[in-house]
């Protein structure tokens, strides 16, 4: 068996499909143009926006949340300060520093067009960019990728995980990447499998994408030996997982001619019981997320200045705590836009209030901002996707959701 391994082989650019990517990348080297990066983090399970971004000065907040209500900023164990009305959950230290450094915009009372309470349909609408679940089989971010201005690498997006989530599925070529424990295939076996897949439309493309992604990661120092997460405690596991995802995402995005967009998702936000307050279940998960974001910033280094990271969830949770010290599925949620490219230091919220009359269907935070307005703002200002494309193909039937302006630094 030959000693040459897949990764060495690929770096020679000899494999037709995978190699084309690398060669084209080289041809672009030296061309100076702005290269914005975008990271989308999907918080699956419905993050409790009233816990992550507590409106502690709202007169109804403490009564609704009872023993899991967060104390005002300044109090011991209280929320971290934002603007005197809203605070951040005490586990979100890095986000608070980012806010102070004007690199974070917090959105509140946001929602996709979805108004029911199924996680799975809610995520589908959040990702497909239409008004209804299952109305489209591709994702809005993928459709945006097909229309990026300027010269764009063949694979303009990467999903960190074995498979590609709906938001990144569609006509634009994207790849997926996840760490492995296995030894790489030898050159000859890989070439034979490539031949065997030549007539198979799906597998030939997937194989080429996988080999290209591996080649890219192999070219990055320190990326080869990534341990698989095995710790027992949930928070430790979450920390390890974020470390992996963040290192991988940064490895791709740091490349001058690598993917511009990365997506990963996180789970465990469905806090029906014993959610906790300043400490507890949700606090642990938020803390792990916050640390993950801090290390993303560090790993990206100078590229952070060109980066925007958006954190979104399918919907919010009930305004009141339920009978089991948790919260059930709700409507209005919080979202975050973070990064060196972001014109931050603001909370964007047309706050509807939490009085019984103000609540949506008498139970949820009422949504006052369409998430698509934020997405459209970011896509146009940051990635340069044209208004026409956004209206026609990325977010069909979204004219009412006008793009937010001035989200990015000029």
């Amino acid at each position: 068996m030959t000693a040459m391994k897949r990764r060495d082989f690929l770096s020679l650019g000899a494999l037709t499909a995978g190699g084309a990517f690398l060669t084209r990348g080289l041809a672009f080297a030296g061309v100076s143009e702005r290269k914005p990066r975008f990271v989308l983090v999907i918080l699956r399970g419905a993050l409790d926006g009233l816990a992550a971004v507590p409106p502690y000065a709202d007169p109804d907040y403490a009564g609704l949340r009872r023993d899991v209500a967060l104390k005002p900023a300044g109090a011991a164990g209280g929320a971290l300060p934002l603007n005197g009305f809203f605070g951040l959950h005490p586990a979100l230290n890095f986000l608070q520093q980012s806010y102070a450094a004007r690199e974070l915009i917090v959105f509140h009372a946001v929602a996709s067009p979805y108004r029911e309470r199924s996680h799975f349909d809610g995520q589908d609408v959040l990702e497909n960019g239409s008004l209804k679940a299952h109305a489209l089989q591709s994702g809005w971010l993928n459709r945006a990728l097909t229309q990026l201005p300027g010269r764009v690498p063949r694979e303009s997006g990467v999903a960190l995980g074995q498979n590609v989530p709906l938001v990144m599925r569609g006509p634009a070529e994207v790849t997926s990447w996840s760490p492995t424990k296995m030894t790489a295939l030898d050159e000859d076996t890989l070439a034979r499998i490539t031949d065997l897949y030549a007539q198979d439309k799906l597998l030939s493309v997937r194989l080429a994408d996988a080999t290209a992604a591996d080649a890219m990661v192999a070219g990055e120092e320190g990326m080869q030996a990534m341990p698989l997460a095995t710790p027992a405690a949930a928070v430790q596991a979450a920390n390890a997982r974020y470390t992996q995802l963040v290192q991988a995402a940064a490895g791709f995005l740091r490349q001058d001619e690598g993917p511009r967009v990365a997506v990963f998702d996180t789970t465990g936000w469905d806090t029906h019981a014993n959610e906790g307050g300043a400490e507890g279940q949700l606090a642990g998960r938020l803390g792990a997320l916050d640390k993950g974001l801090a290390s993303l910033r560090q790993e990206l280094g100078p590229v952070w200045a060109d980066t925007a990271v958006m954190l979104v969830t399918e919907f919010g949770r009930t305004a009141a705590v339920n009978g089991t010290r948790g919260t059930d599925h709700g409507t209005g949620a919080a979202a975050f836009l973070l990064g060196g490219a972001v014109a931050g230091g603001r909370v964007v919220a047309d706050w509807p209030g939490l009085s019984a009359r103000a609540l949506y269907q008498g139970r949820d935070l009422a949504p006052t901002l369409d998430l698509r307005s934020v997405f459209k703002g970011v896509m146009s200002e940051h990635l340069g996707v044209s208004a026409r494309t956004l209206e026609d193909s990325v977010f069909p039937e979204s004219a009412a959701a006008r793009p937010l302006r001035a989200l990015m630094r000029a």
Binding site: G45, A133, Q162, L185, H272, T324
Partner: protein, 467 residues
């Protein structure tokens, strides 16, 4: 020749992948081979060393209680408490391993692979995810106790068994849900007026959305809330805690926690008969047309195509309704539906399908211990760990990522390296793939430079990635 195609479909799509010799035993009557598997009783797992859920849960509750009591008495520092919590994990993990290995061994060795696939389908339909506290030790016994005995019965019985199993109640928090006007609520509120006592709607919502009517099946938020009240009191016995009483770890209806009064769910009024009120709602849900449609669609998606042909869905739906949810009748309608026999490789294998069919095809033994579970982790589908009550997704796009494909190939390569000197892939190729074996794969396997590479190419072949 046509019959050869049908045998390959029977063994690889409806079954779990052909074992050497299996295509011959399918023979000239693939439909008969499938329907024969519905005879001979439910697909139980005969393994004396697997503990009942009650035994596992009682012990886990006891371990947790020790921690809680020590903590209350101020006798533990945080490090110590962490160690104690790890003890619970150390107790549960080996149970998970034995259960998952036993399940995998059954799938690899079963001579009724169609029935085993059906079992996995229902287990995933009523998914409990092993990543929640205690569930690692209960997901396996849940499948053995609630799913397996009922897959050849009526849907309503399967539904009741699943929803009243302690694993499901724990997974979707129902043991914590308290009727706001129940005796227990009054007592607890006297003790702690700050504390709000009430329902948790998690289980009620997922029963409606994921287990019966399906999303868009015609229920409202009010139905969810009321149904959650109806099933307050569906709980688990414990020695102490907020609601002591009952046999630890076993299902218990706690009348004092149950929300009193008649309730209206989906336009039907249910008098308060205690436990019977929830059973009556479940029975009514099992009879709904929306439920028949939802189950028929999922089944057709699993066995026929990602976008199931409406004609096949209609046929299955009709069988479900006409037989009042008799599951063998439903499976026979599935076998008879001609749409299932027209496209030989319409479904992309899930990692579980892929690993199981490789083990079957190469006739590999499932050794005890963690070893056989490693590929499930590597390829991204750990047993009973979908991470969500919706279970694992069932479409090609959910599984055909670039990185996921490379993981399969790398695993196939490792298997080839381990077994290539003992196996003859040229001989195995027609045994595994039958009429699906392509000329390209046959040539590639024949021309391989080593036995190891031949095995790798056979398992990496496009027709082995699909079913």
């Amino acid at each position: 020749m046509l019959d050869d195609v049908s045998s390959a479909i029977a063994a690889n799509r409806f079954g779990l992948g052909a074992r050497p010799g299996e295509l011959r035993s399918v023979g000239a009557d693939p439909r008969g081979w499938l329907s024969a598997q519905l005879r001979g009783g439910p697909p139980l797992i005969a393994a004396a060393d697997l503990a009942a859920s009650q035994v596992t849960l009682a012990r886990a509750l006891e371990l947790r209680r020790d921690i809680q009591e020590q903590r209350k008495a101020g006798r533990v520092d945080p490090t110590r408490a962490q160690e104690q919590l790890q003890k619970v994990g150390q107790f549960l993990r080996p149970i998970y391993v034995s259960e998952a290995t036993a399940r995998f061994a059954q799938a690899v060795q079963s001579e009724r692979p169609f029935l085993e696939r059906i079992t996995q389908f229902w287990s995933n339909h009523f998914a409990v995810s092993a990543d929640k506290q205690f569930l690692a030790g209960l997901a396996g016994s849940f499948e053995r106790e609630a799913i397996r005995p009922n897959v050849l019965g009526r849907f309503s019985d399967l539904l009741l068994a699943a929803e009243s199993h302690p694993a499901m109640l724990l997974y979707l928090d129902n043991h914590l849900s308290v009727g706001p006007h129940s005796q227990a609520a009054a007592r607890l509120e006297r003790r702690d007026s700050e504390r709000k006592i009430g329902i948790n709607e998690n289980l009620a919502r997922e029963i409606l959305e994921l287990h019966t009517l399906g999303v868009g099946g015609g229920y409202t938020q009010a139905d969810v809330t009321t149904f959650a009240e109806v099933i307050t009191g569906w709980s688990i016995g414990d020695i102490r805690g907020r609601f002591p009483g009952g046999e630890p770890g076993r299902f218990l209806f706690r009348a004092e926690v149950h929300e009193p009064g008649a309730k209206v769910v989906l336009h039907t009024r249910y008098p308060d008969t205690g436990f019977g009120q929830g059973v009556a709602v479940l029975n009514n849900l099992a009879r709904q047309g929306a439920t028949a449609h939802f189950i028929a669609t999922k089944l057709a998606r699993h066995f026929i195509a990602d976008e199931p042909p409406p004609s096949a869905v209609k046929r299955l739906e009709g069988a479900f309704i006409a037989s009042e949810g008799d599951l063998p009748t439903l499976y026979r309608a599935l076998i008879e539906a001609r749409e299932g026999w027209s496209e030989p490789l319409a479904k992309y294998k899930t990692p579980n399908d892929y690993i199981t069919s490789a083990y079957r095809g190469l006739a590999l033994p499932v050794e005890p211990g963690k070893g056989p579970l490693a590929p499930f982790e590597l390829l991204g589908q750990r047993n009973w760990q979908p991470g969500s009550p919706a279970g694992w997704p069932d479409r090609s796009a959910d599984w055909d990522g670039a990185s996921a494909l490379m993981k399969r190939i790398e695993w196939a390569d490792a298997l080839g390296a381990r077994l290539g000197s003992r196996l003859d892939a040229q001989e195995l190729a027609p045994e595994l793939l039958g009429a699906n074996l392509s000329a390209a794969t046959r040539t590639a396997v024949t021309r391989a430079t080593s036995g190891a590479q031949a095995v790798t190419l056979l398992l990496a072949a496009p027709e082995f990635m699909r079913r």
